[in-house]
Amino acid sequence: MSAFFKVSSLGVDIGDAGILRNINLEFREGEVTALLGHNGSGKSTLLKVLARQLSPSSGEVSVLGTSFNSTGAREFARIVGYLPQHPPGTDGLTVRELVALGRYPWRGPLGRYNEDDHQLIDQAIDDTGLRHFQHRSVDTLSGGERQRAWIAMLLAQQTRCLLLDEPISALDVKHQVETLRLVHRLAEERELTVIVVLHDVDLAARFCDRLVALKTGEFVADGSPREIMDSGILETIYGVPMGVMERAPGQWVSYVH
């Protein structure tokens, strides 16, 4: 598999504070990667850099072999979709209207939506199980449904990569699992590259192919769930003594001593 994103000697400073220091990473195509780390470790910042929301203070990022600087805004948006941690209120938009906005990178300010666009929008709504809600105002939906509506918008965007910033932090367990399962399934069906910031290590190990961990702005661990789900490594990442049990193949439970 080839590298989708290539990050080399990346550094980000905000004011005097160094948020990220000397990050070298590659994200492979078609892989679901979780970014782990304590609060303030810089994982959301890294995701923002990948989404081009934030320009790095030093270092280089390229997508599919081309440097970030030489990709146009809409061209980039056809490759990479980004879901911010707190999507704003949408002021009366219906689900369908929200999802339709995902076609903007392809149609631009003036292009007409054709039959294909409407099919893609329908497809995205169906994939996220929102058919019954499509004419409801997004603001009136519950947290989990709203999250799915935004993911549907990203799907309609038809990108090859999804960047999700803590997509499940405000959801209950059922919706957390449903959302991650959805992401995982979509990634498989559509061969998407997914990078997702998560706080829950167990869920990350359950649903992701690869775990990458940051600590105070530096890269500390990278590997398959089997490699990372180890009490020693988890202790390095979070700074508290932790233990891990493997209940069944591919299902780990971590706990704090």
Partner: protein, 676 residues
């Protein structure tokens, strides 16, 4: 699978029927009202045909063709243009209260024309648009610079717009006082008069409005993305900054083109989109469409009202700008009811950038300011220009000079103290660094009563004015309390209520300006804070009062620290939130009213003093209050002294000086923080 689906709507939501019905009623009503005076002279078909032809043998027909029809057409055209511009502005800023008026664009356009009239009349002859566009761009640039780092939260943007409007108004006023003979006509124009006597202006205007409208519509889809917030919009490939700049530029062009031709037609750009939204226009496309339609109808109605008022009144001209402002006030109040969550609006970043506040010793800072204040008092009492140059008045003669210099100086200082305190209270209470008594509308309430007295032609003495102003302030306060009770006296709603009051005051002022004469000059003197009107008794009365209030303030320091944590946290900590807010509100209002009668409603002291105290490193409530009070006193004492000597032997109003200097400081200070 996920929920009970039986209650869910199955079809696309459609526009409620009330919207088109309301629009049709508005248009037909306005058209009919506008045509009524002609009905007994012409038959309906002749009236209708006045838009394209006339009967040269019939005087009424000629009049209708060259006066009535172009006026109706231009009202509709401008109304539509401003309605569209308002809807676009609201979308750009994700702000249901944004409009060309509330962002200061129209005031900027007016300012540009004033400056051009005085200093580059050739430019006006070449193209009236250029000066207005320059002024409008200046205003919106200032507003954006002010709010850049504070996140474009709705209330902050509106307050910054108000500050700019006040500031540019004060500049206009300074020009009027210094070069009044040139600008008399400008003020009738400035108040927005749609009187026409041929089709020329309309023919001139419609292509511009049309082109700008088409350009705005071309930006519709990118504008829609802004609703998703900066992060999502840019991850969809939209250049958010570019879209905002382009769209704002179009808005500025549209509103200033209108301003340069007919003057400030305030609040149509606000009222039309708000109405459209309240009546159920939901998607961007329908909001743009219906705002345009509503704007045309509203302005036609407002213009008809103005026309009627001019005809039925004593023949003096009632500018359309006045009636639009009268419509605008209630609409803001309406919007206020519908505006629940002012802290987090769509498309808005949630976290403003913070900066590490410095702390400094209050003793040293207060010491320095007290020294400066004393020095100002000494200089003000002693060192002054006379007929034979500058000279010192020896201390032995101070008791003789006191009558002339003492009361006004004392009153100015105390007014400054009061405003500093009130400003701190309000900024802490509302958690908004742009809040101030000027903005709360208490000053506006006092001014409104003064305007009404002048308009009614009653002859009241100084005492009568004082009483009336206090009454006005109290009434404004009462209204605010009534309004705010619903929202548990929450800060932002209060500020918006204040905005509505300011709109009414503005309407009255325009009327007085347009009528001109000596009453206007009198009112202007008071409005811009002429301290020389103060008597010795008043000054001492004010002093006793301020001392009393200061004692009371010691009680509220703690609650004031708790309130910004939010209602929930504050009441969880055992603070009776509603009661505490009511008390604070009362104190702030009383302080403001007592200062307003001395210094007028428009000085920036209540806004600047608390801000300056923060910059000087006073971060806790108690310290900020003390230093803000001292700074306020110092500012107005200095302003009073300067107002006496700058154009000696003439006098400038001290409040105007304070507003000019304060406005400049404020802009500079905030831009400096923006860089930090």
């Amino acid at each position: 699978m996920y929920a009970d689906t039986s209650t869910l709507p199955l079809a696309r939501p459609t526009i409620p029927a009330t919207l088109p019905i309301a629009a049709v009623i508005l248009w037909l009503g306005a058209l009919f009202a506008s045509a009524t005076p002609w009905l007994n002279q012409l038959d309906p078909i002749a009236i209708l045909s006045a838009f394209w032809t006339f009967n040269p043998d019939q005087y009424a027909s000629v009049l209708a063709h060259y006066s009535w029809a172009p006026r109706v057409s231009i009202a509709m055209l401008i109304g539509c243009g401003l309605g569209l511009a308002g809807a676009v502005t609201q979308q750009i800023l994700g702000n249901p209260l944004a409009s060309p008026t509330t962002l200061g664009v129209e005031a900027g356009g007016q300012f540009g024309v004033t400056v051009a009239t005085l200093f580059a009349p050739g430019l006006l002859a070449f193209s009236p648009d250029l000066a207005a566009i320059g002024g409008g761009l200046l205003a919106i640039g200032l507003v954006i610079a002010l709010t850049w780092r504070l996140g474009f939260s709705p209330v902050t943007v509106i307050l910054a717009g108000l500050v700019i409007t006040f500031f540019l108004g004060a500049m206009n006023m300074a020009f009027l006082l210094l070069k009044g003979e040139w600008l008399g006509n400008l003020y009738i124009w400035g108040a927005g008069s749609l009187v026409q006597n041929n089709w020329g202006p309309f023919m001139d205007l419609w292509p511009r409005v049309l082109v700008l409208a088409i350009l705005m519509l071309l930006l519709m889809r990118p504008l829609q993305l802004l609703q998703l917030g900066q992060a999502s919009a840019s991850s969809l490939g939209a250049r958010v900054g570019l879209i905002r700049v382009l769209a704002l530029l179009l808005v500025v062009l549209m509103s200033t083109t209108v301003v340069s031709r007919v003057g400030v037609v305030a609040f149509i750009g606000l009222a039309a989109p708000v109405l459209a939204r309240l009546l159920g226009a939901r998607t961007l496309g329908s909001r743009l469409l219906w705002s345009t339609v509503m704007g045309g109808g509203l302005l036609l109605l407002a213009d008809t009202l103005a026309h009627w008022a001019s005809t039925w009144g004593d023949g003096s001209l009632v500018p359309t700008g006045t009636t639009t402002a009268l419509i605008g006030g209630p609409v803001i109040l309406l919007a206020l009811q519908g505006l629940r969550n002012t802290h987090h609006m769509p498309g808005q970043e949630s976290s403003p950038a913070g900066f590490q506040p410095k702390r400094r010793s209050p003793v040293i800072i207060s010491g320095v300011i007290v020294t400066l204040l004393l020095a100002t008092i000494v200089i003000s009492m002693g060192w002054s220009p006379g007929l034979d140059g500058w000279n010192w008045t020896p201390i032995s003669q101070w008791h003789e000079a006191w009558v002339w210099r003492g009361p006004r100086l004392l009153a100015a200082t105390l007014a400054g103290v009061a405003l500093g305190l009130a400003g701190t209270l309000i900024q802490r209470m509302t958690g908004n660094p742009m809040g101030s008594p000027e903005m709360l509308g208490i000053s506006g309430g006092a001014a409104l009563v003064m305007v009404m007295i002048v308009l009614s032609g009653l002859e009241v003495g100084r005492a009568g004015q004082l009483g009336a102003a206090t009454l006005g302030a109290a009434a404004a306060l009462g209204l605010l309390i009534l309004l705010a009770r619903k929202h548990r006296f929450a800060g932002n709603q209060l500020l918006l209520g204040g905005l509505a009051l300011y709109v009414f005051m503005d309407a009255g002022l325009r009327l007085v300006m347009a009528s001109g004469g000596t009453v206007a000059a009198q009112l202007l003197n008071w409005m811009y804070g002429s301290t020389w009107l103060t008597s010795e008794n008043e000054a001492f009365g004010l002093m006793a009062f301020i001392v009393l209030i200061c004692g009371l303030l010691c009680l509220v320091v703690r609650p004031l620290t708790l309130l910004p944590l939010g209602d929930t946290s504050a009441s969880a900590l055992g603070l009776p939130v509603a009661k505490a807010r009511l008390l604070l509100l009362l104190v702030a209002a009383v302080l403001t009213a007592s200062a307003t009668v001395v210094i007028g409603p428009l000085s920036f002291v209540g806004l600047i003093a608390p801000h300056l105290a923060r910059v000087l490193g006073q971060q806790t409530v108690g310290r900020q209050m003390i230093v803000a009070a001292l700074v306020g006193g110092l500012l107005l004492a200095a302003a009073d002294y300067l107002s006496r000597i700058v154009v000696y032997p003439g006098q400038l109003p001290a409040g105007l000086l304070a507003a000019l200097v304060g406005g400049v400081y404020f802009l500079w200070g905030l831009s400096r923080h923006g860089r930090a």
